[in-house]
Amino acid sequence: MEVYDLRPIIAPVISLVCAAMVFFLGHNKYWRRFWMLSAATLKVIIVMSMLPGSLRGVVYVFPMIEFTPGIGLGFRADALGMFFAVVSSTLWVFTTIYAIGYMKGEGQRVRFFGFFSLCVSTTVGLAFAENLLTFFIFYEMLTICTYPLVIHDETPEAFRAGRKYLVYTLTGGACILIGAVIVFDSTGTLSLGSPGILSTDIPTGTLALIFTLLIAGFAVKAGVMPLHGWLPSAMVAPTPVSALLHAVAVVKAGAFGILRTIYNVFGVDVLQEVGFTMPLAWLAAFTIIVGSLIAVFQDNLKRRLAFSTISQLSYIVLGAALLTPLAATAAIVHIANQAFPKITMFFVAGAIKKKTGKTAVHELAGIGYQMPWTMGAFTVASLSFIGMPLTAGFITKWYLSLGALESGQYWVLAVMVGSSMLNAAYFLPIIYLAFFKAPPGTTMRVSEAAPTLFIPILICAVYVLILGTTAEVVGMPFSLAEAAVHFVFGM
């Protein structure tokens, strides 16, 4: 059921207004915080207010603002978009609080928080994009808004990383634009509102070109190897930005784009017929394994997390590429199940850096005594990635394995097991170091980071546990993912 509603457009616009206010009134600390928090909170409220309707199967639509006939800005809050919006807007509140604490005493805060808040707006716009063009607009805006965050430190290294980031993502964006042009040329529409707009009447060569262009464009941000190069170097950014880039906005935008391409541009039926997704699945599996392997050898904590992200994101790609309902459920749910543990880890890395100045893994010996709760949260997140039951990661692996069996791709199970082992191989040493390898003379004095850093960590860790134990989390419903799966598979 489709209902015309203002909320799909109000959600991005109101955050946009708040972001503008940060730029104009941001020189005063309190105004800045007020507008930032209101940007994040208002977004959550609006998104959440649509949730009950979405669960009943209502799709909120805002009619298209046409630039020229056939193309324009359109907004549509379907189940898949709602899921992404719910995850990102919830996390945003925590990230904002964390960022306020983290950025104390850093320079250029107006610019930082202004662009930070702009990303809120673009991400929710991305989630609610009704057509490929709108999606592309917000996708590019996200690139542009995150660039000032990446180069925030204005060091030569930061500029280099920023340049690399832009080269990768803009080239990807260009591929998407060309893909969109070909889609429009072949079908006369760019709508993402139906389960697939392409049909097999179009020559296979053209379909292959579209698939390659769109997937390659989105895979850049999703960090699928070999297009992941920007991600580790973007680690020079401040930690809240890394959390933003790696857990919430940027990489998820790429993964979400891949989901949209597979489910809403091509449609499951068409892809099953032409079979383009198997190479993608292989690539994703390769990324899962190799990303983890590289992570094992990283000593810088944030770099280790970056490669872990690259590996984890490909779960989503793999789930989407398997083209079965259960695998699709895994892919969609993993948007949340990867975001919460990973953001917890980045928060922890940032809190440690802020508190002790340590950034390398080998320096972390005994840190568990000093910051037990923080490292406890880190442990929970690690267990989730390893795939322990009762944590969020388990749900993904379970459904993904079921989906693999359903599609007859048994090798995926091997990938799952291998990935779990590798995850254990690079996360458990950190925990071991933190709790059991205290250097001599370590006292048991507990001193956690400031509450603005500490509380978001704890909340996110709790979420990880909740996501793993119950399917009916408040504001993070499993059924929403199922609704999305039902829609795209026509069930």
Partner: protein, 498 residues
């Protein structure tokens, strides 16, 4: 009111007569001249508004001066392509306003000579308007010369140390191309016995003299290519456009080069309706030249440190887009090219106005000197950023529509390669944009003048901001120019009797 027939001659004569009278009205005090020019442009704009209203409501119409019937008399013809006088009037008006303070600052211009600057500017604008509305081949040449000659002179005004050289180079290239145009107008006259465009179009098919017609087509194309600064005859453009005073750069880069394009469109109308020559070969040549222009212009732009030089090279790149759109010769691509004639004018004027304001306030014109200007001239920096985003073609800005439609046209014409060229060119320009934003916002200032700079005076700042706003609005309201251009393109693509 809008049906009053004399709006059409008025729109041409006002700026031309105004130009002639400028030195006289400012005999007593030179301060009259800017206001006079502004007044003339206001009248012209009103007339243009009436004409556009009429063409929107009634379709194309003609004016026959002195009542001489076609083909004996001369004809002024106003069709949808002529609606581009709207953007000529808009940017012309703003350029006059912008010049109020800018001319006072030009070192090389003695103060008492400033009225002549306005006379030349009005002459240039009048020539452009005449070029767009004339229905007569010879008058096409005359107006082309009016606008070119005033353009050469205006380039020399700036007083940069190589201004005269740039102007002379421009003059040589421009004069040769004008002569080529005149030569081929002669050929067309020789084989058809007529100078009226519509008449030539209807007679050309019957003459059967294919070889001279083809020669004329080739020469006219080359002539207009030079005016439009398409690769490989672009060499005059970078110096001339970067050295001219900033309001003039905006006019030259935004409008004057477009007249070469409009000339080509007129040519297509004549030849396509007569059907005497298959335009396929010419189209292929144009597409390739357009593609090379896109890449080459963008490539050179990326490595410039001087902002205005970069903008000049990006003009070459954008002309490449337009020509590629025409050369692909599908419905979508021609629409894209024609829309970009409007939109690029607005975007380029924004960029040159903003760059001019920075140069005006600081005296520096290179990125390395202008570092950190984002905090001292925030509004101007925002305007230039919007312009740059537009020129890259990120939706929903004005530059996007053209790229969208031309890319669509490339796929429609089964030449997807050019779609990729287009996007690659945009990416290259984006690199420059990033360099610029880095310099303006993220790097520490190196010059005291930049730190001390304040926003430009109102007569420079507001035109810039208005145009920057238009860059955004035209992207969202893309259907307005489209409504004008679509019927015209339809007519262009329908051969006579077909």
């Amino acid at each position: 009111m809008y049906t009053w027939p004399h709006w059409l001659p008025l729109v041409v004569l006002t700026p031309l007569l105004g130009a002639a009278l400028t030195p006289i009205v400012s005999l007593r005090t030179r301060h009259v001249a800017p206001w006079w020019a502004l007044g003339m442009m206001t009248v012209t704009s009103v007339a243009a508004g009436m004409l556009i209203l009429r063409v929107a409501l009634e379709g194309p119409f003609s004016y026959l001066p002195g009542g001489w019937v076609r083909p004996y008399g001369i004809e002024l013809r106003f069709d949808e392509f002529s609606a581009s006088i709207s953007v000529i009037c808009l940017i012309g008006w703003l350029a006059v306003l912008y010049s109020f303070r800018y001319t006072e600052w030009l070192r090389e211009v003695p103060k008492q000579r400033i009225p002549y600057y306005y006379a030349l500017l009005l002459l240039n604008l009048g020539g452009m308007i005449g070029f767009v509305v004339t229905g007569d081949l010879f008058n096409l040449f005359v107006f082309l010369e009016i606008l070119s000659l005033s353009g050469y002179a205006l380039v020399a005004v700036s007083g940069e140390h190589i201004a005269e050289m740039a102007a002379f180079k421009y003059l040589l290239m421009g004069a040769i191309s004008s002569l080529i145009v005149l030569f081929s107008v002669g050929i067309l006259f020789g084989i058809t016995g007529s100078l009226n465009m519509a008449d030539v179009a209807s007679r050309l098919g019957d003459t059967g003299s294919v070889a001279p017609a083809a020669l004329a087509l080739g020469m006219l194309t080359v002539g207009f290519m030079v005016k439009a600064a398409l690769f490989p005859v672009h060499i005059w453009l970078p110096d001339a456009h970067s050295i001219a005073p900033s309001p003039i750069s905006a006019v030259l880069s935004g409008l004057v080069v477009k007249l070469g394009i409009l000339g080509m469109l007129r040519l297509y109308q004549i030849y396509y309706t007569s059907g005497i020559i298959d335009l396929f070969v010419l189209n292929q040549i144009l597409v390739w030249l357009g593609a090379i222009s896109i890449i080459m212009g963008a490539f050179f732009a990326v490595f410039q440190d001087d902002i205005k030089l970069m903008l000049a090279y990006s003009t070459i790149s954008n002309i490449g887009y337009i020509v590629m759109g025409l050369g692909l010769f599908t419905n979508f691509s021609i629409i894209g090219g024609s829309v970009h004639v409007f939109n690029h004018a607005i975007i380029k004027a924004t960029l040159f106005f903003a760059a001019g304001a920075m140069i005006y306030r600081t005296g520096y014109r290179t990125l390395s000197d202008l570092r950190g200007i984002g905090s001292s001239m925030p509004l101007t920096s925002i305007a230039i950023s919007i312009g740059a985003i537009s020129i890259v073609g990120i939706p929903p800005t004005a530059g996007f529509l053209c790229k969208w439609y031309i890319a669509l046209g490339a796929f429609e014409a089964n030449q997807p390669f050019f779609g990729f060229v287009l996007i690659f060119g945009a990416l290259l320009i984006f690199v420059y944009y990033i360099r610029m934003v880095n310099a303006f916002y993220f790097q520490a200032p190196v010059r005291q003048e930049v730190v001390d700079a304040t926003e430009a005076p109102a007569s420079m700042l507001y035109p810039t901001l208005l145009l920057a706003a238009l860059c955004l609005i035209m992207g969202v309201l893309g259907r307005i120019p489209l409504a004008f251009i679509e019927p015209a393109v339809q007519r262009l693509l329908t051969p006579l009797g077909g």
